[in-house]
Amino acid sequence: MITGDQPSMKSPLNRAWFWVPVALFVGFAVLAGFMLTQPKDQFVKSQMVGQPLPEFALRPATPDRPGVTIEHFRDGKPKLLNVWASWCLPCIAEAPHLEELQESGAEIIGIAIRDRPEDVTNFLNRYGNPYTRIGADDMSAIQLELGSSGVPETFVIDGEGRIVHQHIGDIRADDVPMLLAKLQEAR
């Protein structure tokens, strides 16, 4: 006769077996806890960082601002290139920080992705307009050539039209000094 799952209960060795699951679980918890503290790079970094901008010429996305061509990035002054859209919620969140960057002297050129002129104008009236120029990228063509996988993204471009830095996601308050520093470095 065997007892199936009921090994003789009173022996201390068998009692110790019941603690094995606890030990395994503690091991898992320690590992998972450690891994949660590790920064995780889930974003797709552009292969274009360090490369010159692709050739492009975009029509104006709104009557208020002129369009953009590659030449505008080759005037010797570093600039920010902000890829955004009026339908993009994080873009609303980053709008005040873009204003802040502009007030600190950064020149910001925008590219509006898959947008309509009236929506762009509404957005700018509502959340502010820190841009000197805004180009319209109706099919995400330039966005893809930049190696950007979503909106918003912000690129730091040096005076010769080379991509120096890519910021993925909305610009938060604590990103502002970092972006200003990158602009300084790009001089």
Partner: protein, 674 residues
Amino acid sequence: MIAEIGHAALWLAAALAVLQMASGALALRQSGEGGNFAVYARPAAVVQAFLAIIAFASLLYSFAITDLSVKLVATNSHSMKPFIYKLTGTWGNHEGSMLLWVAVLAASGGLLAFAERRLPERTMSATLAVQGFVAIGFYVFLLLSSNPFERLPVPAVEGIGLNPLLQDIGLAVHPPTLYVGYVGLSVAFSLAMGALITRQVNPNFAKVMRPWVLGAWVFLTLGITAGSYWAYYELGWGGWWFWDPVENASLMPWLAATALLHSVSVLAARDALRTWTIMLGVVAFSMSMLGTFLVRSGVLTSVHAFAVDPERGTLLLALLGLYIGGSLVIFAMRASSIAEGTRFTATSREGALVFNNVMLSAILAIVLLGTLYPLLTEAFDVRVSVGPPYYNPAGAIFAIPMFMVMAVGPLLRWKDDSPARIQPQLAILGSIALLIIALVVVLGDYPLLPILGLALAGALGVAALLPLKGRKLSRVPVATWGMVLAHFGVAVSLFGMASEGAFSQERLAAVAPGGVEQLGDWQIELTSVDPVSGPNWTAIEAQIAVSRAGAEPTILSPQARNFWAPAQATSESALLTTWDGQLYAVIGDAAGVGPDGQQRWQLRVWWKPFVTFIWYGGLLIALGGVVSIAGRVRVDLKQRKAARIRGERREDEAALAGEARGEPSGGPLPQPAE
């Protein structure tokens, strides 16, 4: 306003969970059955269930009307989205799915409190206290770190869509189904803890636990089946199981629940496997919570990309530590005090069940190890991906003996049996398996595992029906029919898997419109490729005429879709289902211009013989579970009715005796305590 009502309902539900836990726990400290505090536990659980459902309904409403002042709606929905996907968007995101999780938890707790009257009140109090304790943690998680009702300071102009992969009717059903299964196991967990704490691990407790396990298990089975089919046609990769962490997160509770289901039946029928049942009850729900943690914390990378938030992950891990860690410690401390159950020999039905429970647990361990292994190596900065080359052979080592014992087990008698008694049946099953192996090996050169799978499926399919042999079918208990159906379903599903693995054919070619390809006895002609558009996407759609052996061609129209808001490309496969399999077609990117100057397209086609049997089998398994529940509930209701009639008769007799002594009947009776 509606969102605020939902938010308030959630807070009230959380408060009631505290009351439920406190009253249940205080009742335990009082001597005797129940006590004053116990009366609050049941109503608290029931009202809490209503409040949690109101909260979920509020969120559903916000999504239905696309209330863009609610942050969750603005970030996950879009006014242009088809209405049905607005609704499914409710649980297609972190906060909404956690709210659904909590609502199902509260609902199952409420149902338990409302309907279950067979357990001793002390055990019931402990069970409800545990259920309340679990609920509190998840309310805290939801309210503090994942509030689904958060408003935006300024309403958004437009929502930012939903992952287009998730815009599919498969998503409308499979996650909620899985959640009901996941969370239904919380009741099994609470009952196991309640029985362990009050030392009531006995057949009576097992009978109460069994329908809950069965119910959760049916939903898990359906959810996994639907999820597998969803991934199969929606991802466009031609596979039906990818050993992705999120899939594994649903498979692990199912494995544990399957083992628990069998163990609890043995405890109910034979008063054996007491420790096993408690252990599996703890493990099954632990796997549900672990799965939720792995999916929701983003600690593992998966094709099912979910938002990553370390704060949420940490909070979930703390809850896991509290519930899994706590219950395992209580188990370790109390397990040795569980009295030994009835004894049995190795060659008995119990023996076979114990063997298969060990096999199921081993497979569970393999899946768990494979799922967590990348986490372990990433701690040392090595990125690995664990896939079929590990899972398939490692799982098969335990699955093959399991299927063999599964074929034989139901033929054995309880307690003690001799293999000699069932020798004729064993000979039949063995020769079926060998015959299939011989046949397949003669047919062609196929991989080992699918061949074994085909042989086992054949033997198991016959074995599953053998318990009906020599019995009058109308007198077979309903629960036995359930077992027969479920076991036969396993055979059907295994046949589908093995057939897909052995006989699938694939063709990948660059084809210009007008081009013809041959796949097996199928003729495939790409007639045209045109742009089409839908409410929130544009696509190129191929028209493919497929025909077999000169029959009338059928037109398949696979698409390569581009969604906007958010921009994402997906592949819409086109399927042709016949009785003996499926033709699966996917159109890919433009593949340049051919020598004749025509634009060519990447066309990928699979012929998968009997692949549909995988999901038919899954449905049969679930149906077996439903039949089993129906059988148990019917028996239970009969017994209750019999008990009531006995009680009434006794009362009548007492009243008659009273009248005979000249006492007035219907005087003030002491009210029975809840």
